[in-house]
Symmetry: C2
Subunit: 346 residues, 2 copies
DNA sequence: TTGTACGCGTTATCAC
DNA sequence: GTGATAACGCGTACAA
């Protein structure tokens, strides 16, 4: 496919300057190999003709794109409404930017993560919260691309960054149990398992494990009367809707645990809309500690995870793999229960 | 540069299948041109050898990358802390995602936007809030890339998306003046002009023009005693700091107008920290209407701009330029004053 | 179906 | 020390 006229190539400069393409390339990338005045002449002509190197051809030659890919399991517009994702990205960008790597945000194409991968020109991938990650892993291996998986299950030989979901969830649930709550609704994150929490993987599995460990220590378990899990879309709307469904089925809970602050805030809105006194009649605990969690009324008790640090750590690992051929390893970051006014004794 | 072994190319498949490279290419992209059983054999071998096409080589051949670039004037981590940017991106992503275009976020490299541009392999650029955009425009023209400028000055022949900054600013200031305020502090956005608002361009110029039009109708002007402008970083911290500087210089204002909600919220925090009764003693008006504006106490009066729509509109225009060779045009979206509790009569 | 030129810059090798 | 030559990377598309 021919370029339109008007786009100047290295050959044009070479011809005009009466030198070879190689000389032009050297003038830009290794001027010391050429006589000073030759370099000068070439650069002058390049300027005059408005030459700009074609990044594609360059990448093709040197075998690197200088770009990192961020692979997400949902459409970007859904990811971006969650401040959690923005903060993660900010962390990634802080590290990548230092090395001059732009970020390619790669959402599924026509619902397929695989299609998206195979058409992305990047030097490495960060994957975020993939539920079914095996096929993706294999595809990335095929392409021979380094990658770091964030919020999945640690796999031997694969670089992974996670948070201590289980203990975070355990702390949240223990907190409510200690306050005397026994009828507790869980608002989970929609998963491909469609509510079958026994089959959860990765992040969701670890959180459910943590919640259950706390429940079991109090002689309860998920699935008992008054202790039910409902999956929601990760959005305020999803939280509102989930809370309503919770009320429709079975006895009203005295406490609600959400797996995401966005969901918790939605539940809070739904509760307030019904005239429920949150903290008095109903305790509420979230997960993530997004900035909004501190703004809402009452401020939300939640489990803080270091989102920016997660992004920075993952980006650092990926750049180590890409630039320095490091060995993949695993990192787990701590979580912390942040008690605010949305939770109180029963 | 050779590929490492293990990465399979189209030539490997061709050799193994005993056909030409062209046949392999057709098997993937135009199977109807080949005998069914040939296609089958080729695909089987490709699968067996774990072949994945090289997206770089493909882009090089077809002359398209299938990627849109988003060019930002600051490091990404600074952009991403502003929910404004995330919402804009969400709008862009919604449109780009439908066409299967991933997004390349391109921050300045070593402080240079130009360097960043010339190494980005994209089919078109969206620029956001460039203050000095002429050089960037020229560089993009050089590369022969379509582009859409968001929040700059409308230029003839260049695709531009803007909001009605002037009337938005006018409405905000008129609102305060009607409430009787006459000592009004402006918290602006840091610009390369370093406080010389007479020299502002683009968005900042239009906003200052709107504020001044309102002031002049009340017999005042920027620079009068009690009507001063201070530039801030666009962050809560920047707002806190700006508010403090405002108090240090000259008479205490009865109202503060910020050019960004993030700045306004920072000012709000600083005021509350000083024990100032916001809305009673001090009125506060922002710009953007980010979600937080409605959460803070007291809720923030502000000028709403349709951030997602801005992103969608810009992305649509860019895709029209890229895919359908449309003619560049200009769009201006409306703003709207949203009165909440942070502003009251003097 | 095949052969092959093409897109465009890089780099190893060679000549002066 | 300077610079040219040509192979290379990999998939596409046209002529045959």
């Amino acid at each position: 496919m021919k370029n339109g006229p008007g786009v100047v190539t290295i050959a044009d400069i070479a011809a005009r300057a009466g030198v070879s393409k190689a000389a032009v390339s050297y003038a830009f990338n290794a001027p010391e190999r050429l006589a000073a005045k030759t370099v000068e002449r070439i650069l002058a002509i390049a300027e005059e003709l408005h030459y700009t190197p074609n990044p594609l051809a360059r990448s093709m030659s040197i075998g690197r794109t200088g770009t990192l890919g961020v692979l997400v399991p949902q459409p970007l517009e859904e990811m971006l409404i969650n401040p959690f994702f923005s903060e993660f990205l900010a962390g990634v960008a802080a590290v990548a930017g230092d090395e001059g790597f732009p970020l390619l945000l790669v959402p599924p194409v026509k619902g397929s993560v695989d299609l998206a991968i195979s058409s992305a020109a990047v030097d490495g991938f960060l994957t975020l919260g993939l539920e079914t990650f095996r096929p993706t892993m294999h595809l990335l291996e095929r392409r021979g691309l380094p990658y770091v998986m964030v919020d999945s299950d640690p796999e031997p030989g694969v670089a992974c960054v996670n948070i201590d979901d289980e203990n975070g969830a355990y702390a949240a649930m223990t907190h409510l149990l200690a306050l005397g709550h026994r009828r507790i609704g869980l608002l989970g994150i929609r998963s491909p398992q469609r509510g079958r929490w026994e089959k959860y993987n990765g992040t969701l599995h670890r959180r459910v494990t943590g919640y259950r460990r706390a429940l079991q220590e109090a002689g309860l378990d998920l699935g008992d009367t008054g202790v039910r899990l409902i999956e929601c879309e990760v959005s305020e709307e999803g939280g509102r809707h989930g809370f309503e469904r919770l009320l429709k089925r079975g006895p009203a809970p005295t406490a609600v645990v959400a797996m995401s602050d966005l969901i918790a805030i939605g539940a809070l809105e739904a509760a307030l809309a019904r005239g429920i006194d949150v903290s008095g009649e109903l305790s509420l605990v979230g997960f993530d500690d997004i900035p909004e969690a501190a703004w809402v009324q009452p401020p939300l008790t939640t489990v803080r995870q270091p989102m920016q640090e997660k992004g920075r750590t993952a980006a650092k690992m990926l750049l180590d793999l890409v630039l320095r051929a490091a060995t993949p390893h695993h990192v787990v970051l701590d979580t912390e229960l942040v008690v605010r006014a949305s939770s109180a004794s029963v």
